[in-house]
Amino acid sequence: MKIRMTVNGTPREMDAAPGDTLLELLRREGLKSVKKGCGTGDCGACAVLLNGRAVNSCLVLAAKADGASVTTIEGISDNGGLHPVQQAFLDSGAIQCGYCTPSMVLTAIDFLSRNPDPTDDQIRAAIAGNLCRCTGYDKQVAAIRDAASRIRGGTHEA
């Protein structure tokens, strides 16, 4: 079946089997930032923005994304530079192995778009579905707090 969706701002038409997940489809299309972790919606490594909301792409059938807008980490650059959330992750040392990072950044972008001035507890709750086996989360929380501040202080919309 044909799936038409806007991926990172570009309309695309892709072939998919009815049972393919969005994760499989995106990776097949070369978007390797979308990671397969558990495949059951527990780890969050496969998170993408589906119509602006962070979702586990392993739990979304590709056919359900027909007509939707999908954003992966490849699509969030800010005029060729890093998105403020990416920059904050870099500056805070919130990346170790990097496997969870794309999904963590996308989840943070969705979260900050609806909660621009969060508490640390709210940040921790927001990334509860994104597992990281390296950092212990403190640096990611600090990074998201810093990103919120950068976004509030600047003109960038999360």
Binding site: M1, A17, P18, T21, V55, L59, T107, A125, A128, G129
Partner: protein, 288 residues
């Protein structure tokens, strides 16, 4: 990877068409809305998925008679949490409960209809909605309203849920919910909830519910009876708590032992009753 047994996905243009597809599928058709459960528990035989997510079934509104909040069956848990109609309902208890369900990523996908249809025994949603006296509108050729407690524990091929109706009670009614899990992200070892209505200082209606026992949530009538007519004082709370523990068939499973669940239930019911009490006019009186 994926769901190799999904042979096709169809998008009906109406609720009636969706039901026909479901019924005519001879057991090989399943509804698809949020899609969370169908991917986590993939079918073992070939199936057609009937995608109802594009049907106009996600509105959240007050019913025409003003007696209930109507939540469309395909509204996601996030959409419910962000609804201005829900935010302050029952002292925010519904929002707080939903905030404990799974993760934000999953809540962006999971629907209220799917949550009820999947009927997981540990479901926090099912537990609190039972205490709230929620009803489910189903379509099986005609629209009718069914008590949540009467919804079958397994999805049926001859009906689909169209909306959930949560009664709007007056100020004399308060609810409270408690859930216990190893981590916030884990499913409940046990959950419980209560709804208490007070008139002239006395309990005139009570619902006490426990779920994840490890059975599906259900009302504990023996506990409710201990509360009716009382002033929700310390003694009646103790009697209700004792009745709840003795009248609930608590069992062992991989998440908790029956013995541990007894402690959780006792603690949870007591906390619920005390919190509900504090939210009614009785809350201004010291607990005697």
């Amino acid at each position: 990877m994926g769901l190799p047994h999904v042979t096709s996905i169809v998008r009906p243009s109406s609720v009636e068409a969706a039901l026909n597809l479901l019924k005519n599928g001879n057991g090989a058709a399943r509804l698809l809305a949020g899609g969370v459960d169908i991917v986590r528990q993939p079918p073992s035989g070939d199936i057609t998925l009937v995608d109802v997510s594009a049907l106009p079934l996600r509105d959240i509104a007050v019913t025409e008679d003003g007696q209930a909040i109507s939540i469309g069956a395909t509204a996601t848990l996030t959409e419910i949490m962000e609804s201005k109609l829900i935010v302050n309902l029952y002292h925010g208890e519904l929002i707080a409960m939903l905030g404990r369900v799974a993760s934000p990523l999953l809540r962006n996908l999971a629907t209220i209809g799917g949550s009820i249809g999947s009927s997981h025994p540990w479901s926090d949603i099912h537990c609190l909605l039972l205490a709230l006296g929620a009803k489910v509108e189903v379509y099986d050729g005609s629209y009718r309203t069914v008590d949540l407690a009467d919804i079958a524990p397994r999805p049926r091929q001859d009906q689909l849920f169209t909306r959930v109706l949560i009664p709007i009670h007056g100020n004399g009614t308060a609810v409270a919910f408690e859930t216990f899990s190893l981590t916030k992200f884990d499913v409940a070892m046990l959950n419980c909830a209560c709804s208490i209505s007070i008139v002239a200082g006395k309990v005139v209606a009570a619902r006490v519910v426990a779920g994840g026992t490890p059975a599906r949530a259900s009302r504990i009538h023996a506990a409710e009876e201990r509360l009716l007519g009382t002033e929700l004082d310390a003694a009646s709370i103790q009697h209700a708590t004792d009745a709840a523990v003795s009248d609930t068939g608590l069992r062992d499973d991989v998440r908790a032992s029956a013995e541990y669940r007894r402690v959780l239930l006792k603690t949870g019911i007591r906390r619920c009753l005390l919190r509900a009490r504090a939210r009614t006019a009785l809350g201004s009186k010291p607990l005697s």
